[in-house]
């Protein structure tokens, strides 16, 4: 028997656009476009219970005490402070330009790829929060602290190398990071009461 040769008809592709539109809209609806942003932090490792009460051996002049009260007031070194003024205060504390005996001690040390630098190696910023303080206030303070450190790094880079911090070579960035390393310690209000 002889077979008739059949021609394959063209596939109508006009609905393809509709199908892909549908898919596109589905993805638009189910996905969230916003990239998450946040403040990263490293928590200190847990301490065994018996060591809890033993406070670290830090000289008083090296400690900057920040307290957030239940009423969302920020108390820096026993003084009520506005959030806008906090950054300047913290920077002044960390820098200690005039070697003030009330500010943290300057220690001259060899920093890799920079050389001898006098910096406040042992300073600590102690952040205490009361249980009823709002999270927003806490984040405000945290972000001001981060800003203070990055401003100090930038300032140092400008003075030393005449360049912005983020434009420095990687090893120099690391060295500046050592000089202005974030030394923030957090204490819960209960622990402090125990100490008293």
């Amino acid at each position: 028997m002889e077979r008739k040769k059949r021609k394959v008809g063209q596939i109508n592709a006009s609905s393809m656009a509709d199908i892909s539109f549908l898919l596109l809209i589905f993805f638009l609806v189910t996905t969230s476009m916003n990239v998450g942003t946040g403040l990263s932090r490293r928590l200190p490792p847990p301490v065994p219970d018996q060591q809890k009460l033993k406070s670290a051996d830090v000289k008083k002049r090296n400690i900057f005490i920040l307290h957030i009260t239940n009423q969302d007031e920020i108390i820096a070194q026993g003084e009520k402070t506005d959030i806008h003024k906090l950054r300047g205060k913290v920077m002044q504390f960390i820098k200690n330009e005039n070697n003030d005996p009330n500010l943290p001690e300057l220690i001259t040390e060899n920093v890799p790829s920079i050389g001898k630098v006098a910096y406040t190696k042992n300073h600590v910023i102690l952040l205490e929060t009361d249980a009823e303080a709002r999270y927003q206030t806490y984040i405000d303070v945290q972000s001001e602290l981060v800003a203070a450190y990055s401003e100090l790094r930038d300032e140092f880079a400008m003075k030393r190398f005449g360049k912005h911090y983020h434009l420095l070579r990687e090893d120099l960035q690391k060295a500046v990071q050592i000089i202005f390393s974030q030394r923030i310690s957090e204490v819960q209000a209960e622990n402090i009461k125990e100490k008293k």
Binding site: A13, S14, M16, A17, I19, S20, F21, L23, L24, F27, L28, T30, T31, S32, M33, V35, G36, T37, G38, L39, S40, R41, R42, L43, P44, P45, P46, I68, H84, T129, D130, A131, E132, A133, R134, Y135, Q136, Y138, I139, D140, Q142, S143, E144, V146, A147, S150, E186, Q188
Partner: protein
């Protein structure tokens, strides 16, 4: 001499739409690449706090989320309006955080386990007591890399 051409009746050729699917597919792939699927449905109301210095979250696959806030209105009958914690899709207690983190970590590849980051997505009005308790719990299980979710603040 100018030759006056006789006006021909010109017909518009049919617009070819054969490349339209390709264009749309390209759009589709673009969106699939840049977006990430919604991770969970919120059961708590979260308005993230605003901060001046924020970093972008990297390595989404290594981040686990803890949501903190007041339950949404439809859950308030059964769960009250106190600040609650949400892990994955369900409300949880602070004591459950430890086992959650341990489980999530053991599900990761071994080389990634140290890189696990916990993102605390908390409402801006959350009392700090809750946050401190969460942090304590995270410290206990050595989940030390944390991120406080916050939005970029344009100005004060």
């Amino acid at each position: 001499m100018a030759l006056i051409r006789k006006k021909e009746k010109r017909e518009m050729p049919a617009l070819s739409t054969s490349s339209l699917p390709d264009i749309i597919f390209m759009l589709l792939f673009f969106f699939m690449a840049v977006t990430n699927l919604k991770e969970t449905t919120y059961r708590v109301r979260i308005t993230p706090p605003q901060a001046a210095e924020v970093q972008k979250l990297e390595n989404k696959s290594l981040i686990r989320y803890i949501y903190v806030g007041q339950p949404l209105p439809q859950y308030q009958n059964s769960f009250g309006s106190e600040t609650r914690i949400q892990l994955n899709d369900a409300f949880a207690d602070i004591s459950e955080i430890e086992s959650y983190i341990v489980n999530e970590r053991s599900a990761m590849r071994e080389e990634d386990q140290n890189l696990m980051t916990v993102c605390i997505r908390a409402d801006k009005d959350t009392p700090m007591g809750t946050i401190n308790e969460i942090k304590e719990a995270l410290r206990k299980v050595y989940a030390l890399k944390i991120v406080y979710a916050a939005n970029q603040r344009s100005q004060y």
